[in-house]
Amino acid sequence: MTGSARLHPQASASLLADYTVQPGVADELFAPDGAIRPVWVPFMNQLARLSPEDIAAHFTRGDQYLRDAGVFYRQYSADPQQERDWPLSHIPVILHEDEWSEICAGLSQRADLLERVVADLYGAANLVRDGHLPPDLVAQNPEWHRPLVGVTPASGHFLHFLAFEIGRSPDGSWLVLGDRTQAPSGAGFALENRMATARIFPEPFPRANIRRLAGFFRAFRNAMDALPGADGRRTAILTPGPGNDTYFEHTYIARYLGLVLLEGEDLIVQNGAVQVRTVSGPQPVGVLWRRLDAAYADPLELNQNSQIGTPGLVDAIRQSNVNMVNALGSGILETRAFMAFLPKIAEVLLGEPLQLPNIATWWCGQPSERAYVKENADQMLIGQALSRALPFDIGADAALAGAFRGGQDQPLDAWIDANAAGLVGQEAVTLSTTPAWSDGRLVPRPMTVRVMAARTPQGWTFLPGGYARIGRSDDATALPMQQGGSVADVWVMRDHPVPEETLFDPGNFRREDIGALPSRAADNLYWLGRYVERTEGAIRLLRAYHQRLAEAGNAADTRLTRIADLLGGLSIDVNLPLQAALEPALGAARICAGKVRDRFSVDGWAALADLTSSLQALSGTLRPGDDCARALGVLLRKITGFNGLVHENMHRTSGWRFLTFGRAIERADGAAAVLLAFAGDEIAPGLPDVALEYGDSNITHQRRYRIDPTPDTVTDLMVLDANNPRAVLFQLTAMRRIAQDLPSAEVEGRVSPVLRALLPLEAGLVVADPADITADRLVDLRRALSDISGRLAAAYLV
């Protein structure tokens, strides 16, 4: 920042009135001499010009953005589906580019060092032979995977994407607190942090001087595409699935970078090659950016109990047929105890000291180190040597400043002696503080910065900012999000405006082949289509019941009990609260949608979430009759909104085809089921109305037949009408058209098994008269639809 920048008087007067930097603590906003750091001045002045109401409104804008975008993380808890809103701390952390460049230079050296270390641990093991690393820290390490020993990665490198957790120590220098080498998260969240702060602080200055994030992602995607053997094969993100705490980020990055998102069961290994099962058959995969811990990647050779791996993946890696980002086994570098040996190893392997020191660490397996840890326990964090948690992620089996975090009944020294080789001592670092917003003012909170690094042909490149963790109190151990900390954007500022960046190479237009749809995604889309349609059908039938109840005013009316019975036959219990009646189908739809979140728009997801929350918001005190009918009307409009968003806006790729096929088959089956239930021999007066209402066809019926509904007119309209989108025939025709567009619809003059079943069914209805549609015919029709569903699954979905 130029020296001309001065702090607006308002800033110090109100915003900083309570901002007191504690003695012995470094601060991001204030230099040690008490002066505000120049890099913060433009931002603080901007903030000072806003009224408290404006600031609150700006923050709300950012939060609203995050909610609309669906950003969440999962809290590991008793309820595995619990999602938490992204805990954005609205005030960014601001660092000058010169300081940032120094950090990156140090981390670049560290990244190279880590590559050398992991190559040695899976290669010659000279570090152990020469006494630079104790053998037990490797041999007992759950992240040292023996099946990978002696395997050189296809790309020649183990590490491609890293994150470093860094903090500022009291003397102002930076310190590495942890290396994230397994499957680092944060890059996608950094992007969302930036999108949110761009809405909170939209003014062009100081925005224009903040380094952009997109270039990093472009460089990394190009680097992955350039890996050996990646050409012509797919680059994919391998996720553990929707249960993972950072699943949102996996879907987000997949969408952002245009990569396919896969789970272990999407992949098969044949003839040593990794292939993705798609609706067009197996297709080769060249690069897997894995977000899955190595142990779970291959149940045949790694953790046998893994349900989310791919049998044979290790074999394919051994045969150099797939690039892993990062190599399986890289997670060993996250081991806490390694911090004790890396400074020396740097000198051995690189011939130079670490440019950026890591947190001082002593392994208690060495006698003199153990003695030192015992003597200085009051200034240390003592924890598990093989833990891969960050220093401030303190478990119950650890001691901070001489006291156990959990209830331990033995003296500290005895505990250290008894578990020596399993323990490390780490200097209890006092982290720097940075401004956070609390009750209308700025307060200092401890923070760490996460720096993302990617390997490119030109060397390591770094994501300039985007992600800092902020403590919720002065306690530096309350940093992790799981304990209520928050996350802030990090702005790396230049003295002059930076050029715009985008994800795309300028002027380099090409239409990418998006590749065939993975079978599992197709399966989920198909069932999403079915369950949403099933939910809609249930809403319509329930509404028909409650409307009649409102008219009759008496649930014991025989007409109503008859309808209730018939609905019961369709597995709809009118006596259940609406929530309980609709949740099974809607919940199933939500689970399917959650598994293909990368495949439909943010708006579509939001519409489904809105439907769910509307259903959950229905109180149990809704009175049967009018109350319920009205609530169901609202739900009906919302579900139609979801259908509209998806069907109007979704690209006509095979994903859309499976979703739509699912909707069509469910609708055809639903109509047949309702007719079957309502068109029995003894038709109660008025019952055909319900069928028409289910089919949304009352008005058409009135216009066309000009008589009260009879079984024949209802059948004509609901089964045989090729122009009524609620009719069975209409849906069969829609299904047939889709089936003709699916892969292998016709092979050497033979139509696919799906079409073979569909064509005669459709033709049969085209030439049928209402009188032909007996109850038996409807039963056969339903059986045929179930058979078609099975044929579709066998041909495309497994």
Binding site: L121, A125, V128, R129, D130, G131, P135, D136, V138, A139, Q140, R146, P147, V149, I268, V269, Q270, N271, P299, L300, E301, N303, Q304, P311, G312, D315, V798
Partner: protein
Amino acid sequence: MRYDIRLSIGNDYGAPSDHARTLVRLLPSDLPGRQIVSSRLLTVDPVPNERYETTDFFGNAATVLVFHAPIDRIDLTLRARVERLLQPSILDLSPDLAGLAAELAAHRSLGPGAPHHYTGPSPRIAPDPAITDFARSVVPPGSTALQAVETLGQALHAQMRFDAEATDVDTTPSEAFANRHGVCQDFSHVMIAGLRALGVPAGYVSGFLRTVPPPGQPRLEGADAMHAWVSAWCGAENGWVEYDPTNACTVNQDHITVACGRDYSDVSPVRGTLRTSGEQDSHQKVDVVPL
């Protein structure tokens, strides 16, 4: 002593399973000074689409089988001719347990034979307080490593009852020890847990026993199926010593080695992954005939 070995082992699956991939560890290998394999042949039915031989981290021969079409059963047959060489009786040059720790610390290697792989918990063997207490109670302080191995092995043999029906392949060492019964896998897992608790690196060996005993000697337990025993590191001088807790004997010419590892999970003879929901049924038959 030379043997003809014939093993048939198979699995029936309730429903056809898709994309089966199987890792087989059944082929015995040459062991310098201990074992010479003059022939070995593994046949697989149905014939897999892919089959290749590899060597795993611990040096065991492993066969990878891949089936591209669904299968509803797999049958494996091994025929091998193996010579076991007579081992001289062991002269106890092992250090006491404190000395063993020092020798262990001085051993700087991560190679397959390094004792460091065998000191801590492994996938199937977690530390167990009851086994630890038992091991400490039967092995007197000041014992050499070799004495500790033999003392613990004999004590377990005396305490635990061989029962082919009481446990299965997934029984944990804690359960087997608590009930004081099991098969060779259980005896071995419990002994390994006990040795590791004493600071003696210990691993798991799978293999075969001669089916028919020499004249005048009792038939050994565990000869109808594949067998398992323990390998323990007794210091730099004695190195790895093998002990069979199921029969309370050191391993010599009656045992034929197939594979070794940290516990059963490293050597399981047929490790497969199937996408199947059906029940599995497996059978095994072994003949080890001296020539």
